[in-house]
Amino acid sequence: MRVCIVGCGAVGSLFAAHLATLDEVEVWAYDVVAEHVAAINFGGLRLTGRAEIVAAVNARTDPGEIPPCQFGIVATKAMFTAEAITATAGVFVDGAVCSVQNGVGNEELIAEHVPRVIRGTTFPAGRVVAPGVVQMDTAGDTWIGPFEERAASAAEIERLADVLTRGGMPTVALADARGAQWTKLIFNAASNPLGALTGLTHGRLCELPATRALISALVSEGVAVADSLGITLDSDPDALIDHAAEVAYDHRASMLQDALAHRRTEIDALNGGIVRFGAQTGVPTPLNEAIVALIAGMEHAWSSQPAAASSEDGGGG
C-alpha cells in the first residue's frame, strides 16, 4: 500500500513515521519546508517523546515526484488545505484522502480535487523540534468515517483504520464520524481563542467564573449548530472542558502559542466553521462571530508589527 502524507509537520509526521514501521506500507510525504524534507530524506523521520521511531519516509517539496497513492492523509494547518490539495491532486487520481486536521470545512475543500474523501479527527499532538525531528507530546485515538458528499467505501475506511492501528496510531472506523469531529470542534472553538485573547491557561480560563460562563455560551452555540445538522455529539463538550481543566490545567492552547509567536491561527476552520454551518441552517452564532472578528483583528495587528521570535512548526503543506 502506498500512502502520501500531505503536510508533514507535527501531526503529519506522527502519522508518517508510525505507518512507515509497517513493511507493507510505502510512505510518501509532501511538505513545503525544504530543510525538513531534506532532513527526512537524509536521515529518516525521527519521533521522540511518547514514541521513539526513526522511519524511512520519502519526502518531497515537488508533488510531481510523488507516485500515485491509494491513500492520502492531509495534516496541514487548516488555512493551507486548499493550496496543499490543489498541489497534490495528481497523486490521488484514484485515491481516498483523509483529513486529520482541526476544524470543519477541510473535507469540502479536499473533495473538490480527489474522488473519495474520509472525514477524520485526531488527538495525538507534537511539535517539530528540528528539521526531520518531531517530539510526540500526546498519544490518543483517531476517528475516521466517510465524507458524505464524496464518500470513500466502508472497506477503504476500515483498511486505513487497520494499518494505522497496527502502525501504532489507534484508529476507529465509523459509519458517521461527524459526532467525533464536532465534539472536538466545539471544545476547541470554545477554549482555544479565549486562551489567545486573554493569555490564560486552560485551567485558569475554567476557574474564573467570567470566562467559564463565556466558554459555556460558546459551547451552546456550537451544540445548537450541530443539532441543526442532525449530528449526535460523542460527549458533552462542556464536560470535556471541565475534564481538561483537571488534567491539563497549565496547558496553553495552540492558538495562544500562535498568538505569542504572531502566527496565523486556524480561527476560520474553528469558530468560523461554526458560524458558516450555522448560517446554512439558520442558527444564530453571535458570540462565535465576535470571537472570529477579535482573532482576525489580532492577526491584523500583527501584520503591522514585527513578529516576535517565531518557531514555525513546519506544518504548513
Binding site: 486573554t198 490564560l200 485558569r204 460562563a213 472578528a293 477579535l294 483583528g297 491584523h300
Partner: protein, 323 residues
C-alpha cells in the same frame, strides 16, 4: 460667581492638558498623587506641545491641605483612583463646585459621597500623549461636554461660565443643560472601541468601521453599539450622537489627518502596560445598567469578561503561586 481659581485634581494626561491651558486665563492649582510630581511641576512648570504650545506656571502639591481656595475643582484622575482621590478632598473646596471627567458612568455619585459640592458632569474627547511629569502633547483637540449633575443643585449658569473659561483658554468645550444623552453616547462608543482595541491590540483604525467581509471588526463594533443603544433606550436616554457615526467619524479623522495615524484608546494603553483597566466603569457599568433595565447584552458581556480575564492573566495563578 466669577470663576478665577481652578484646582485640577489629578495631573495625568487630561488633567495636565486642562491645567496647562487654563493657567493662561486664571489661577490654577494642581493636586498630584505623587509628591515628586508636584515638586517637578513647581520647579519646571507645565509644558504643552502638539496642537498648542503652552508653558504654564502652576501651584502644585500632593497634600489637599496645602491647596489654596478655589472656585471649581476639576477631578481628572483615572476612574480607578476616584474613590481615594475624592476622600482626600473631603472638607476642602468649601464653596467650590466639582467637575468629574472620568470615563464611564458613576463618577459623580462617588464624589458626592465625600462632600456637599455642586457637581458638574463632563465627558471629554480630547487626548494627549504624556511625555513626562511636566510635558504633555495635545493630540486630539476635540471637545469636552459638560452639564449640571441632576442630583445636586448645580446652576447651569456656572457650567456655561466654566465652558466659556475653557474656550477662552483655547480648549473646545460645550455646556449642555442635560449631559446624560452625551454621556451615554460616549459610554456606548467607548465601551465598544476600547474593548475591541484592548483585545485585538489594534489602535482605532479603519477596520473598526468596516463591515464588508467575514471577520471584519465593524460587525462586532456595530453589534456592541447596537446593544448599548438598546440599553440607553430602555433607560429612557435619548442619545446626543449616534455612537456608530462617532466611530465612523473618528476613524475617518484619523485616516485623513495623516495616513499612519490612529488613536490608541486608553484601555489598549492599559493592556499593553499590563495596568488594571477602566472596564468596570465602562463596559461593566453598561452591563449592570442593562441588567437593571432588563436588556440582554451578550456581546458586551463577553467583552467585559474577556477584559477581566486579560487583567487576571497578569497575576500569577493560584496554582503557580503555590508551586
Amino acid at each position: 460667581m466669577a470663576i478665577s481659581r481652578v484646582c485640577v485634581i489629578g495631573a495625568g494626561t487630561i488633567g495636565s492638558l486642562l491645567a496647562g491651558h487654563l493657567a493662561g486665563v486664571c489661577d490654577v492649582s494642581v493636586l498630584t498623587r505623587r509628591p515628586e510630581h508636584a515638586a517637578m511641576l513647581r520647579e519646571h512648570g507645565l509644558r504643552i506641545s502638539g496642537k498648542h504650545e503652552r508653558a504654564a506656571e502652576v501651584f502644585a502639591t500632593h497634600e489637599a491641605e496645602e491647596l489654596p481656595a478655589f472656585d471649581v475643582g476639576i477631578i481628572a484622575c483615572k476612574a480607578l483612583e476616584l474613590e481615594r482621590t475624592a476622600s482626600q478632598l473631603a472638607g476642602h473646596g468649601q464653596r467650590a463646585a466639582m467637575m468629574t471627567v472620568q470615563n464611564g458612568l458613576g463618577a459623580e455619585a462617588v464624589v458626592a459621597r465625600h462632600g456637599p459640592w455642586p457637581i458638574i458632569s463632563a465627558v471629554t474627547f480630547m487626548s494627549g500623549i504624556r511625555h513626562s511629569d511636566v510635558h504633555v502633547e495635545y493630540e486630539l483637540d476635540t471637545a469636552t461636554w459638560m452639564g449640571p449633575w441632576a442630583q445636586t443643585a448645580t446652576p447651569y449658569a456656572l457650567v456655561e461660565e466654566l465652558a466659556a473659561l475653557m474656550i477662552s483658554a483655547g480648549l473646545e468645550a460645550e455646556a449642555m443643560e442635560d449631559l446624560l444623552p452625551a454621556q451615554w453616547s460616549k459610554l456606548i462608543f467607548n465601551s465598544a472601541i476600547n474593548t475591541v482595541a484592548a483585545l485585538t491590540e489594534l489602535p482605532h483604525v479603519g477596520a473598526f468601521a468596516q463591515e464588508r467581509g467575514f471577520g471584519d471588526l465593524g460587525w462586532l463594533v456595530h453589534g456592541l453599539i447596537d446593544e448599548g443603544v438598546a440599553v440607553a433606550a430602555a433607560a429612557g436616554v435619548a442619545l446626543h450622537d449616534d455612537p456608530w457615526e462617532m466611530n465612523v467619524l473618528a476613524v475617518a479623522r484619523g485616516e485623513t489627518a495623516h495616513s499612519d495615524y490612529a488613536h490608541r484608546p486608553s484601555m489598549l494603553e492599559d493592556v499593553l502596560a499590563r495596568r488594571p483597566t477602566e472596564v468596570e466603569f465602562i463596559t461593566g457599568a453598561l452591563v449592570r445598567e442593562a441588567a437593571r433595565v432588563g436588556v440582554k447584552v451578550p456581546l458586551s458581556t463577553a467583552m467585559y469578561r474577556l477584559i477581566r480575564a486579560r487583567e487576571a492573566s497578569w497575576q500569577a495563578s493560584p496554582a503557580q503561586a503555590v508551586a
